[in-house]
Symmetry: C2
Subunit: 366 residues, 2 copies
C-alpha cells in the first residue's frame, strides 16, 4: 500500500494519456479534478492485487461519452460518486475498493476522485491495459463476467440502474442514455468481489502509467531519452514522424470518429501516413500498408516535448512522433480479437501483432 | 367490483381506439393479448376509486414506443409483467393494484394482461382520459407527482430502473432506451399509494371505454345511431366527413409523425381538411381554419362501420368521419395546456376549446 499524492496524479495523467492511445477523455480535466479532490480529502491509498481481500467488493468507476463533450463540460464531483452511491443502494452494502475500468485518459483519474471523496482505496489495476471506446471491451467481458447491475448518473440529477442481458447490451443502453444525458455520464459496471477480480484484471497499470509519466517529466529537455525509456518499458516501436496535413473528426453515435493524414518529416520525409480513430486510435497505415492496428496501442506524441496528444487536440500542422505498443495478451486471444480487433470496428483485414508488422517493415523502427 | 371478461375486452378495445385519438398503439394486438391472458388466468377484477384502500400501492403499466413498431413486434406476456416485477424488487414490496396510464389504444389493455397474469385487480381510471404521445403528459405530472422510480423491460431480457430528475427527463431517458431496445418497451412509472391516486387520476375511464365500445358494437348496421350515442356520451362534435387524399407518415425520435389531407364528401363535398399527428391526432384544420386541437380529442372513424381507425391504419382513399371531444378539465389548466397544448407540439397558436371553435363554425356540426 502506498499513497497517491498530487505529484503522482501529475505523472499518472501524463502516462495515462500515452496508454489512452489518443482517447479515454482528456486527462487534463481529470488531473485538475483529481488534484482538487486530493487537496480537499487527502491522499488516496493505492493497493495492489496481493493486498486485496477475497470478500472485498471492488467497483470500477468511469466516465462514458465522447471526449469532445468532456472537454467542454467538466463533470462535477457529485456526478463521479453518484453511480457508486446508487450501486451501494442497489446492492444493500458498502463498496470496499474502487478501480479504473481503463488506464487511458480521464478514466484512470475518475476513480481517484471517487476514492478521495468516499475515503476508499483504489486498486492498482484496470480491465483494458489501455483505453477502448466501448463498454464491453474489458477483460471482465473476455473472462465471462456480467456487467450487471450497471449504475449511471448525470450532472442534472438523473440516476439509472441497468440490468443488461450482456456486455454488448450494457454498452448499447448505457450509450443511448449517455447521449440523451448530454453526451457524458458517470458509470459503475462489472462490480466484483476480490476473489474474482484477481483472476481477470490487468495488474499494476496505475503504477505503469505513473512510471511512464515520470520518464517523460524527468527528461524534459532530453525528450528522446524519456521516449526511449518509455519504449523500452512498454516494448514499443516508433512508427513514424510526421506533420498533420489533414484531420477529419465528427461526433456520431456518441463517439468522436475520424482520421488524420500525415506528411512524413525528418527520417520519414516524402512518405505519407494515416491514422483512423473512434475515440481511440485504431489503425495506422503508410499508404495501403498496415503499420499497427487495434487491440495494439497507437500513441501520438508531440515531436518537440514527447508529450502525448489526444485525438481531440490533434491540429493541422502539428509535428508528431507516432509510436505503438503491444497490447496485453488477453486481447490477443480469439475472444479478445473478436471483441476489439480490426474487424469489430469495420476494417476488412485480420489482426496481426505490431511485433510481426514491425519485423516486416523494419525501416519503421528507429 | 366487477369482473372483466373477454366480452368486456372486446368493447374496451373498441372504445379505447376512439379515446386513443388515433394513437396509443393498435388495440387489436392488445385485445388479442388481453383475451389470451384472461383465457389462461381467468377474469380480471375491476375496482373503482371508492373501493381503493389508501395504503394500497397502485402501479400504472404501459407500453412505450411508436405504434408502427408494435404492429410488427407483438410484445410477449413476460415483457408486460417484467417492469412490474422489477418495481417490486426495487421497492421491496408487492404491488396491490395495476392501472392504465392512458385509456387510448393498446395501453388500456396492457395492464389487463399484467393484472391477469399477476392476479391483481385493475383500477377503473387512467391518468390522461385519452392517449398522449409523451410520458409526462399525465395528470400525475400536472398534480406535481414524481415518476420515479421508473422501471422498463424489453423482450430481449434487459431491465432498467430510472430515477429521473422529473417527468420530462423520465420521458427523455425512457424514450432513448425504448429506441435502443428496438422501438418498444414495457414501463411502470408514477407508482403511488391509494390516498394519492384518489386525488389525481381520471375515474371510470375503463368503464367509459367499454360503454363507447358497446354503443358501436350494439348498433352494427345502424352506425349513425351508435356514433350519435357516443357523441352524446362524450359531448362531442362531428368535424367533417372526407376521403383520405394524401397521407404522409414517418418514424422519428421514437414517434410516428405525419399528416393526412382529406377531400370532403357528402355534406362536406368541395372542402379540404388536414389532420396532423404525433402518434395521436393533434390538430384538425379546414384550410387555415382551426377546427380542434390538442389537448381536446380528435378521432377518425370509418364512415361505413363507425369503427375508429388509428393513424397507422389510415390509407389513401379511405372514407372517414372525423369527430372531436372535449378533454378532461385538468388539461385545460395552465399547466395542462403548457404540457400538452398546441405550442408544446410546435404549433404557433393558442389553445381554444373545441366547444368554442365549434360554436364559431357551426356549419361543422351535423
Amino acid at each position: 500500500m502506498r499513497y497517491l499524492n498530487e505529484e503522482s496524479i501529475e505523472k499518472i495523467a501524463l502516462g495515462a494519456a500515452v496508454l489512452g492511445t489518443g482517447g479515454g477523455g482528456d486527462p487534463y480535466i481529470g488531473k485538475l479534478m483529481a488534484k482538487e479532490a486530493i487537496r480537499k480529502y487527502g491522499p488516496v491509498r493505492l493497493i495492489s492485487l496481493e493486498e486485496l481481500e477475497n470478500d472485498q467488493l471492488v467497483v470500477p468507476v468511469s466516465g462514458m461519452g465522447a471526449p469532445t463533450v468532456t472537454i467542454e463540460k467538466i463533470p462535477a464531483e457529485n456526478e463521479v460518486t453518484a453511480p457508486l452511491e446508487a450501486l451501494e443502494k442497489v446492492l444493500g452494502r458498502k463498496v470496499d475498493v474502487v478501480m479504473p475500468i481503463e488506464i487511458g485518459g480521464i478514466n484512470s483519474l475518475y476513480p481517484i476522485i471517487a476514492a478521495a471523496k468516499k475515503e476508499l482505496p483504489i486498486l492498482d489495476a484496470d480491465s483494458m491495459g489501455r483505453a477502448f471506446p466501448e463498454a464491453q471491451m474489458v477483460t471482465f467481458h473476455l473472462d465471462g463476467f456480467e456487467p450487471s447491475p450497471v449504475t449511471m448518473a448525470d450532472e442534472k440529477g438523473n440516476t439509472v440502474v441497468i440490468y443488461p442481458k450482456d456486455g454488448v447490451w450494457s454498452e448499447r443502453l448505457a450509450r443511448a442514455l449517455t447521449i440523451e444525458m448530454g453526451g457524458s455520464a458517470s458509470v459503475c459496471d462489472y462490480s466484483l468481489f476480490g476473489s474474482d477480480i484477481k483472476t481477470t484484471v490487468i495488474p499494476y497499470t496505475l503504477t505503469l502509467a505513473e512510471k511512464i509519466g515520470e520518464y517523460l517529466l524527468d527528461n524534459k529537455g532530453k525528450e528522446h531519452l524519456g521516449i526511449q525509456k518509455m519504449l523500452e518499458e512498454l516494448k514499443g516501436y516508433r512508427l513514424f514522424e510526421g506533420k498533420i496535413a489533414d484531420i477529419e473528426r465528427h461526433l456520431s453515435g456518441g463517439f468522436t470518429r475520424g482520421s488524420a493524414r500525415f506528411e512524413g518529416i525528418r527520417n520519414d520525409q516524402g512518405r505519407e501516413f494515416t491514422l483512423f480513430f473512434q475515440n481511440e486510435h485504431l489503425v495506422a497505415k503508410e499508404g495501403e500498408q498496415l503499420l499497427c492496428s487495434t487491440p495494439d496501442l497507437i500513441a501520438v506524441l508531440d515531436a518537440e516535448t514527447g508529450f502525448p496528444i489526444t485525438t481531440e487536440r490533434m491540429k493541422y500542422g502539428a509535428r508528431v512522433l507516432v509510436v505503438a505498443f503491444p497490447c496485453h495478451e488477453k486481447w490477443r486471444t480469439l475472444k479478445g480479437i473478436e471483441t476489439a480487433g480490426p474487424r469489430y470496428f469495420g476494417y476488412d483485414f485480420d489482426y496481426r501483432s505490431v511485433e510481426e508488422l514491425q519485423k516486416e517493415g523494419e525501416r519503421c523502427i528507429d
